[in-house]
Amino acid sequence: MKKVSVDPITRLEGHGKIEIFVDDDNVVQNVYFQIPELRGFERFCVGRPVEELARITPRICGVCPEAHHMAATKAIDAVFGVKPARTGVMLRELLYNAFFVTDHTTHFYILAGPDFIMGPESDPATRNILGVIHKVGLETGGAVINLRAEAAELISMIGGKQIHPVCGLPGGVSQAITAEQRDRMVQITAAQVEFAKFSLQLFDDVVLANNDYVELIKSDAFTHATYNMGMVDENNKVNFYDGQIRVTGQDGSELEKFEGRDYLAHIAEHVEPYSYLTYPYLKSVGWKGFVDGPDSGVYKASPLSRLNAADGMATPLAQQEYERFFSTLGGKPVNATLATHWARLVELLYAAERSHELATDPDIIDPDVRTIPTGIVGEGVGVVEAPRGTLYHHYKTDDQGMVTNVNLIVGTTNNNAAISMSLKKAAEGILTGGSEIREGNLNMIEMAFRAYDPCFGCATHTLPGDMPLEVTIKSETTREVVATVKRNM
């Protein structure tokens, strides 16, 4: 009976543990996916002015503070019952799309790139960004760094700060931008569009041109037919900042579409004794366990599910890529977890194009960026698409706007059940009975959840630093560790 440790699992945010139990023949019996509990978030927030949550909640995550800032700002709009000024909304959306460009780029080159560019079973010592830039060229590495620097410049022009924006206020944003700043943003976003096109080309050249990778992407071990969730605009096109939440089924048809504020009518959370992280599922379908198919309420909320749940992309180049994505992979929905990497690049192109559209809109320099709230509703839900999935912030306050209750459902939590299922299926498919357990095998199991880019920091409402996840394979009968694979970071 076996237990194999991978310590640390490379390239994953947060602190968690995966335990894979196998029998004497290395046949997978169970997979448990656990994360530690982090304490006191609600207590920390209660009693504070609700406006502060737009600056507090970004600090629960070192990876996507901008997503929390936006969800919080929208929730606070709702708490005060204020419709934000049009240009204020445009500036928020511009900042947010620039953030998506940064985050998706980082994921592709730092996290996904090593598996595909170096190979999933290549030497872990070179299966990292350093190996990647040696293979694709130093100039690509420089381009990634440069893109991040320029996106940070844009974000700080609107957000006031590079990492933790402070611009979001109920009714809009804190300041307008100047024509000079706008000109710079036009320049930056135009370069982002070119970079996104380059990245898609690289994916074509490295991944799609390699039949082994295409087979790996399409393989059963990495496939799950769950429901798909994503935010859509009035034309059912992908939108990260605003819209309705749409859920589509295994045949691609719409199951439901709802306003973010009604999420509790549509989503419930299943609890397992071994995990502090809940397992959200669709109420209308119900929890049937860790299974896929139309009778199971498990859903995905990821770049892949957003493409599946929408009818297309709202910008022209991304729409072309969207069509190519589905025609190449056999139509909608695509259930191949590893196709999430490609979906992320389609979204990268959309985010860059949308940023450029907003930066070139004449109204972006309108000084009227905020509507001052005049009343208070006392409850509000703010929803955005975070890079890792739909992000819900729900606040309640007293009549003075002091927080009485906070609930968050973050991107990774939405995907908790799907991640667990993907891990088990990948483990079953890769650790076939009797085979030797090798580091490369374990990396391929890791790939099943790296596709979701899970981030357990805020999934447990905090970030305990950037600690590794640990994977162990244990004997089902003796619970002993069978083998250990250590990685160098």
Binding site: G40, L138, I145, A152, L463, D466, M467, M489
Partner: protein, 157 residues
């Protein structure tokens, strides 16, 4: 920045109890008179951001919380001084989501950037980095005072 410049970089999370210690010490240093060529920055994120922050400085002094595995036998408030060659297992230097400081430094060198020749880390063993709060535990608060002095000595202030 000027040639021969030093960056003092406070890292951590200001609302996660002892994880805020690096930010607190660096924030205090930022308000004090320091030798010419010293800049103080605060960062709540790691990964590639580290490369962007340290680029161009000749020396970097990082202050951060540390959460050692139990077998290390460290007590809360213990101060550990690391140099670049020691970077393994720090609390925040190794962003699994992105890259750790060792990789960030190597990547910067590969890309031909002007990277610091000297990196020193003052790490403070934390008691609690898992509870939301803005207070330090008593041993870490005491260590913050000592690290403040150690960094000033390092700077010749």
């Amino acid at each position: 920045m000027t040639s021969g410049s030093t960056l003092v970089l406070g890292m951590g999370n200001p609302i996660l109890s002892d994880d805020g210690v690096g930010l607190l010490v660096a924030g205090r240093l930022a308000e004090e008179a320091l030798p010419a060529g010293v800049e103080v920055r605060l960062s709540e994120v790691a990964g590639l951001r580290l490369l962007e922050l340290v680029r161009g400085f000749t020396r970097v002094i990082i202050i951060d919380a540390l959460k050692s595995p139990a077998e290390a036998g460290r007590e809360p408030g213990e101060i550990v001084r690391y140099e670049a060659k020691d970077f393994k297992g720090g609390h925040r230097w190794r962003s699994a989501h992105s890259i750790g400081i060792d990789t960030a430094l190597a990547l910067g060198h590969e890309l031909g950037y002007n990277m610091p020749g000297e990196v020193i880390v003052f790490a403070i063993e934390a008691e609690d980095v898992e509870t939301f709060g803005e207070e330090l535990s008593p041993p870490v608060a005491a260590a913050a005072e000592r690290v403040h002095e150690l960094v000033r000595e390092e700077l010749g202030a």
